[in-house]
Each structure stands twice: as C-alpha cells, then as structure tokens.
C-alpha cells in the first residue's frame, strides 16, 4: 500500500524487480553521463545500494515513479563523480573502445550522433537522457533534476539545437 512500509518480503521483491528492470538503463545512462565504463558500473551499483537503504522512505505518490526516483539517485551520484573530475578531458571515442562488443557494426550517423550527445554540456545531456532516452514526461524530468518545467523545456530546445548544429551545421536560431 503506498505510503506505508511494505513488509520485508514485498520490499525485497520490489527491489529485485527494479534491479532487473532498470539496471541496464541506469548503466547506459551513467555511461553517457561519464563516458567511463568502470565509473558507470560503480555508480549503477551504488544507485541500487542507496535505493535499498532508502527504500523505506520511497513514496510512490510523491516521487512519480520508481524509475524517476532511481534516476534521480543515479544522476546525483554521476554529478558528484563528474564534479570530482570535471576538469578532465574525456576521450569519448576511447571510452567506446573499452566497451565489450565495441566492434558491433554501428551506422556512422548513429556513432556521430552518440558522440555528439556524449560531448553535450552536462545540463543539456541530463534532459536529453531523461526526456528522449527514458521517455519521461517533462514534469517528471523536472522532478528528477529539481528544476522547473520551463527550464526543462528551455534546456531541451538548447540541446536539440546543439545536436542539430553538430550533425547538419544548421542552426534553428539562425
């Protein structure tokens, strides 16, 4: 029942369901954020560790959804990690080389778009990930990031334009 502490068994069942449903998406999100496979794996695991510890405080009706709540934890952990190394110039192409099955055939356009997303400023990358990749509604993106819906909208426009300029040279603001 929402708002009350679930029993231990129900809590575990729910947690294990989250791990199965969201771990891969969180891992990929962290990778896009950090361009570092090892750090992404660490943070994905840390996200679930934190989530398990804080599960009693999770209230479905307040946090919109478990996915949004987990994404908020993951994004905050990524942000902490990113800050600790914000001055580094990450070689994104190299980060991709570190992935297993990196030789998988990927269309040149997909690769180019992906590298452009990796290179976006963090604030723009966050909204792209949550809105387009996780398909969250704008209100939920705003709740995850702790910003207003209008800021989400503005950042999305900026991010879309940055991707468009990078890929086609065309600027909507021209």
């Amino acid at each position: 029942m929402p708002g009350t502490d679930p029993s231990e068994t129900v809590k575990k069942e729910r947690f294990e369901g989250w791990v199965r449903e969201y771990s891969q998406m969180i891992l990929r999100t962290c990778f896009v954020y950090l361009a570092d496979k090892q750090a992404a794996e660490d943070i994905m695991q840390d996200t679930f560790l934190k989530a398990w510890k804080a599960m009693d405080g999770f209230k479905e009706q307040q946090a919109h959804s478990a996915k949004a709540w987990l994404m908020r934890i993951a994004i905050n952990l990524c942000r902490d990690h990113h800050r600790s190394r914000w001055f580094r110039h990450v070689d994104r192409a190299k980060a991709l080389e570190d992935l297993p099955q990196h030789y998988l055939q990927v269309e040149a356009e997909d690769r180019s778009l992906f590298l452009t997303i990796l290179a976006l400023p963090v604030k723009l990358k966050q909204v792209i990930l949550l809105y387009y990749y996780h398909r969250m509604p704008m209100q939920e993106v705003a709740a995850v990031l702790g910003i207003s819906v209008s800021t989400v909208h503005a950042r999305l426009k900026k991010a879309e334009n940055a991707l468009k300029i990078s890929l086609t040279g065309a600027d909507d603001n021209d």
């Binding site: 990778f31 990690h81 099955q101 990196h102 990749y133 879309e160």
Partner: protein
C-alpha cells in the same frame, strides 16, 4: 531530430553494455549486505607498483624524469617537496616524488571533509586549501604527521559552478575565471570582477600578474596565444602566438622557470620573449594537473600516471615514437615504469589512418615513427615481401614468444625464418544463442549460416509476433553482407577450397539475406524482452548464451574470423634509429600481455591464473561469516533473524566472488577455448575488406534494390577477387 533517433543512437552504440543475470544477482546480494562496489586491481598494476618501488629509487639520481602510477586520483598539488593527491571516495594521499611511495593521509574529521562536495585542491606558499563551488567557500587545511585538519572556511559570495572554470591562488587572492570573467576574492574579504575576453586559463606569473591562454576567432578559425594579464587593471599583453594545431590543456610557472604548458601530449616552454619550444614528450592521457616542482622539474598528472619531466634541454631523453592513434600512456605503463630513461611519444596525425601513414613512411623511408600499430591484415604480405618491418626473429625473447603462439598467429607473422610483428589486440567474436530460450520455444538451433537466415526470415515473417517476450536484432551479429563474404572466403581457405563466392551455398544465402533485409522492421527490443541471440567474445564467461560457430558449407569446418577491429599488431620501422628501444617496448608488451589476449594467442597458457586480490577478499568474507555464525549461537528473536540473513548474504558474496572475481584466466576459460582455438583463421589475403572500401555502393545495393541480381553480383565479385588475387601474386 526525432526522439527515436536519439534512443536508437544510444542503444546501438551501447549494445555491448549489458547487465547480465549474474551481475544483477551481485547487485542484489551486495545491496542486502550493505557492500559498496570494489574497483578491481589488476595483476598488471600490482606488478607495476612493485617495479616503481624497486626501479625508481635506483634511477632517481641518474634521471630527473620519473613516472609513478596512482590509480583513481583526480586532483594534485605540490606541498613541502611532496605531491598531495585527492581520490574520489577515498580521500587524500601523499606521494614522495623521489620514490613514488604513496601514503594515505588520515582525515581528522572525515565527516566535515566528506561534506565538501567537489573539493578542488589549491596551494599558495606552503598553505593548502580546498575550494568548493557548491559550498561557495575556500577551506584552508594543514597536514601534520599524516593527519589532515580542516580550518574555518572563507566565504566566496556569487561563486558559481561552471565546468570551464579555472581557480588559482596568489598574493592572498583567489582568482576564479569563468567564461572570460575573472572574479577576484582577497582572502581578507570582498570581491571584484575583471573582464578578460577570450581568456580560458590563467596561472600566477609573478607578483600582480597572471599568464593566460586567450582564444579569438579570426576569419572563421580559432587562434590561441599566450598572454600576460595585469591583475589590477585587467590589461592583456600578448606573449606568444601558438601554432593552430596546439591544444593547450594546462599552464604552470614557478619563479625562475619559463612559462610551461601542456599541449598535444607534450610539454612546451615559453620564455619572456615569447619563444616557444617543445621540451618533453608526454604519453597520451587526460592531463588534469601540471605544476613546477622547482625551476626545471615539472609534475604532470595524466590518467593514472604521475610523470616528472625535466624542462632543461640537457635533461631531455631518448624518445620512442609509437603510432597508436587511440593508445594512452597507461596502456603501456609497464614499459614506462621499466624504462624511465626513454620518453614514450604518441604523435598526432590528422586526416589519415595509421595504415596510410605507414605506407607513406615506408615509401619515404621515414624515421619519424619507431613503432606502428596496424589493423589491416592484408598489409602483412606486402610488409614481409618488401621488408617493411624489422625482422624480430633475432630477438631471443620475441622469438620464444612467437614459438608459443597458436599456429594461425605464427603463420600470419612468419615468413621463412623471419618474424615481422606481434599481436596487440585480439578478440574472437562469435554468434551465440540463448540455449534456455531456444529449448523452451522448441526452436531448432542453426548449424549453418543458411539455417540462420532461414530462421531469421521465419522470425521476421511473423514468428516474432507469437513470442512478444523475446527479441533479436536481425543484423547485429557480424552478419552483414561484407562480413559474411569475408568469413566465407576465410572458411573456404581454411578448408582448402579456392577463393570463389559464386557457389550454390552463397547464392541461396544471399537470396535469404535479401528477403530478410526487406522484412527487417528495425523494431527495437524492449528491456523486458529476452534476447534470443547475442554476439559474444570467446571464451565466454556468462551463463545465458552459448557460442555458436556456424559454417557456410555443411561439409566444411566452421572458422572464427577476426573482423578488422578485433585484431591489431605492432610492427617496428626498419629505418628507425631506436630499434633497440623498440625491441624493449615489444618485450615489455609481451611480458605483460593482458590475460584475455594471452589465452587467445598463446599455447603456453595451460593453467588458470588467479586474481591476486581474490585470496585477501575471500579471507575477509570468511572472517565476517565466522563472526556472524559465532554471534548467532547466542542470538534470539529478531537479532537471530537479522544474523541469519547476514550469514546468507555473506555466503552469496563468497559464491559471487568465487564465480566472478577469482580468476584472471579460469579453468573454464581454458577448457572452453580448447573447443575454439582450432577454428581461428587469420587471413592475410582476404580481398573483401579492400573491395568493400573501394566499391561501397556495390555492397550496399542488396539492402535497397528490390531487383538486386544475386547471381550477377556474385559473378562480378568473383572476377574482382580473381583480379586482386592475381595482382597480389604478381
């Protein structure tokens, strides 16, 4: 721009980034046990640290330049003749620049320190500070007898976080540069701002001055120059224009030294007259800190390496140039640590791939590059024929290494008594199927590529709709036309058949391929769906999939081909002036060959290799388990249940440790690879990759042209193959 395109770009690029069932179980077990993830320390690193301790002390007196390894650090400042490192999650460490010895510092008040998000280390005249953008404060801290104590913070109003900012301390003033705006915070209070258009970095440069990097757009292109900035007036005076190709990442200066900067994996100096010269090479990596330890010795933090480099011409060292476009210094840390007398240099070449550069260099007999990392296997025949690589057979260690290689690798590198390269990257990708899912659904497991495409056609024609919980990605298993044709020629060669593709087997296969292409709905699998097929590297450690090497011809034995990105090899420039150093580099590489490469190439790998971290971790868990069991004897009620759960969790941790972390090369890896080692085929004469490069439209036609003529295509291709082979023979 559509949301689908973005989603597709992320998923396609990160297809290999999967969380396996076992990993999910590990996450759950660790969460219940309250365990944080552990970074694994590789065998290579353990060896490297040992070498530092042994070698650096002996060589310190002779060579000013030294290199140390420090995993996980993200900031560095000099302090009292030592280096202070900050490591995320771990805290502060002190490194002796003479020996490389690293000591963890004790935080007097860990909670206060960990409450500072994004700590950035700064130093001025022996005083250490930590800057936090989020807290809008600068905290002084001191180190006494290994204990770190934090002082009261200086408030910094309006300090905004910006990923492009630079912060420096000098003359009791903190200067923070953000997007061309300099905020000056005297530590006794107040704040003022100075506009510095185009300036992206600054460093204290004598009293009341900063040296900086300024960029401006001139006729559509970006120009960079070094400048001197007067702190009071904000006046900017040019010091030196920089070459357009130089990408500056860090500046450093100490009284008595010239201005020093890092750009393009090298250190440069700029004197007061603006004369710029390269003074030292650095290995490729992310340089995140640069300081002058004295007038002539620079400390550079790059990835996991800390490099000390002399900026005096007399201190310059022998240089070995390696053309590995994606390589980083830390990939070669064993060599760097064993040979501090040799500077490893990674040049940047724009607009050409390594192979093109190699061919040009050989034609010109250039000595600029000493070692090349190549991927094009078809070059090997030319290299051997024309002597375009140093014969390594005369080196006893490299020759012994070659004798241990599996026959396909020996055959690739050898010609007569000569030996012309060594392998660097080797992956063996193989189609794999989900045995459990195939069993449950009653699907027949394909035995040939024709079977596979028949199954694919059935799946795409409607079978997928009957099984919505399952998915597959039709053309994501190294089964595109170009790769299939290349594999086919490899299989024929390995089975002693002539290099032709216009055969009944290939005609039927391409007809099925064409139909499957037309049916491919580009449907994206949902996360909840189970994958029926996968592409795995053999030997495969997971439990969900089973490798399925397929043949084309039912009567032929299947081969495992290596696509271009799955194999690379080193060759030494025969005109190099540094051949002895190049041989040392290769010896070091084969001595420290990563375990995942070693098992694939070396017949000498016949015993498992245990992870050196395993035993310590196992003992820790065993001791924890014994503790819980002891407490359990006396416990009752809720406490008993809690302890029983902890016992269960710790047992699971032990089991995970045994399964996932015990081995660098496991007994199962060795047993599995025995099935596959005989299937490896490493061609040096497969014409398909070159033909695809030269005629991409011809190979793309089948995907879009409904009237594509399979037999006509294969006939034409056979003619082209014959021409290429004839030219190769000639």
């Amino acid at each position: 721009m559509t949301d689908k395109r973005i989603e597709q770009a992320i998923d396609n690029n990160l297809f290999g980034l999967q969380v396996t069932e076992g990993e999910m179980q590990q996450i759950i077990t660790r969460a219940y046990a309250g365990e944080r993830p552990r970074r694994r320390l590789s065998l290579v690193l353990v060896t490297a640290l040992l070498i530092v301790a042994l070698a650096a002390t002996a060589l310190a007196v002779i060579y000013a330049s030294r290199v140390f390894v420090s995993e996980g650090s993200s900031d560095m400042v000099p302090h009292g003749g030592r280096l202070i490192l900050y490591k995320w999650r771990e805290g502060l460490f002190e490194v002796d620049p003479e020996t490389g010895e690293e000591t963890a510092l004790t935080l007097q008040d860990p909670a206060a320190w960990h409450a500072i998000p994004d700590p950035r280390l700064l130093t001025e005249e022996g005083q250490l500070f930590v800057l936090s953008y989020e807290k809008e404060a600068l905290f002084p801290f001191g180190i006494q007898e290994g204990i770190v104590s934090l002082g009261s913070p200086f408030p910094l109003p309006d300090l905004r976080e910006d990923y492009q900012s630079t912060a420096v301390l000098s003359d009791g003033i903190l200067a923070v540069l953000q997007k061309g705006l300099l905020r000056l915070y005297p530590l006794d209070g107040g704040m003022r701002q100075v506009e510095l258009p185009g300036v992206s970095q600054i460093i204290p440069y004598g009293e009341g001055q900063y040296a900086g990097l300024q960029k401006e757009q001139v006729q559509g292109s970006s120009k960079s120059r070094l400048v001197v900035i007067d702190r009071d007036s904000g006046e900017i005076c040019p010091l030196a224009d920089l070459d357009p190709g130089l990408r500056v990442s860090q500046l450093a200066f100490t009284p008595g030294s010239p201005l020093v900067f890092e750009a393009n994996n090298a250190l440069f100096t700029c004197d007061e007259k603006g004369y710029v010269q390269q003074v030292a090479s650095l290995v490729r990596g992310d340089v995140y800190a640069l300081y002058m330890l004295d007038e002539h010795l620079a400390a550079v933090a790059s990835d996991s390496l800390i490099l000390l480099r002399s900026i005096r011409p007399a201190g310059q060292q022998k240089r070995l140039t390696v053309l590995d476009p994606l390589g980083r210094g830390e990939d070669y840390k064993d060599f760097i640590l064993q040979h501090p007398e040799i500077e490893l240099s990674f040049p940047l070449f724009a607009g050409e791939d390594t192979e093109e550069r190699f061919i040009q260099d050989m034609e010109a007999q250039s000595r600029e590059v000493d070692i090349y990392l190549l991927r094009d296997r078809n070059l090997m025949a030319h290299i051997q024929e024309k002597g375009h690589a140093l014969n390594l057979a005369g080196d006893p260690e490299l020759s012994a290494f070659m004798k241990d290689l599996y026959p396909p690798f020996q055959a690739f590198f050898r010609q007569g008594e000569g030996q012309y390269g060594i392998p660097k990257t080797v992956f063996l990708p193989c189609l794999a199927y989900n045995q459990e899912a195939f069993g449950e659904l009653g699907f027949k497991v394909p035995a040939t590529w024709t079977d596979f495409f028949r199954f694919l056609q059935t799946w795409l024609s409607g079978l997928s709709d009957q099984h919505p919980d399952y998915t597959l990605m039709p053309f994501r298993y190294d089964n595109t036309l170009d790769l299939l044709l290349a594999k086919y020629l490899d299989e024929r060669a390995a089975n002693g058949l002539p290099p032709t593709v216009n055969t009944p087997v290939m005609q039927e296969l391409l007809t099925l391929y064409k139909t499957a292409r037309a049916l491919d709905p580009q449907k994206k699998g949902q996360p909840s769906q189970t994958h029926l097929l996968h592409l795995v590297d053999v030997p495969y450690r997971g439990a969900s999939f089973t490798a399925l090497p397929l043949s084309f011809d039912p009567g032929s034995r299947p081969v495992l081909s290596l696509p271009r990105d799955s194999f690379s090899y080193f060759v030494v420039n025969p005109y190099s002036d540094n051949q002895e150093a190049a041989l040392s580099f290769l010896r070091s590489y084969v001595d420290n060959l990563p375990s995942y490469v070693k098992i694939l190439v070396s017949q000498a790998v016949d015993a498992p290799v245990e992870n050196p971290e395993y035993e310590g971790q196992r003992q820790e868990y065993e001791s924890r388990l014994a503790g819980y069991q002891e407490q359990l004897k006396m416990a009752t009620g809720e406490e008993k249940s809690r302890l029983e759960e902890q016992v269960g969790n710790t047992r699971r941790l032990l089991s995970d440790l045994e399964f996932y972390n015990r081995w660098l090369i496991s007994p199962r890896d060795i047993a599995d690879y025995q099935q596959f080692s005989g299937m490896v085929y490493l061609s040096s004469k497969n014409p398909i990759p070159d033909l695809v490069r030269e005629h991409p439209e011809m190979f793309a036609d089948i995907d879009t042209n409904p009237d594509f003529d399979v037999e006509g295509f294969l006939t034409r291709l056979d003619e082209m193959i014959e021409t290429v082979m004839r030219e190769q023979t000639r």
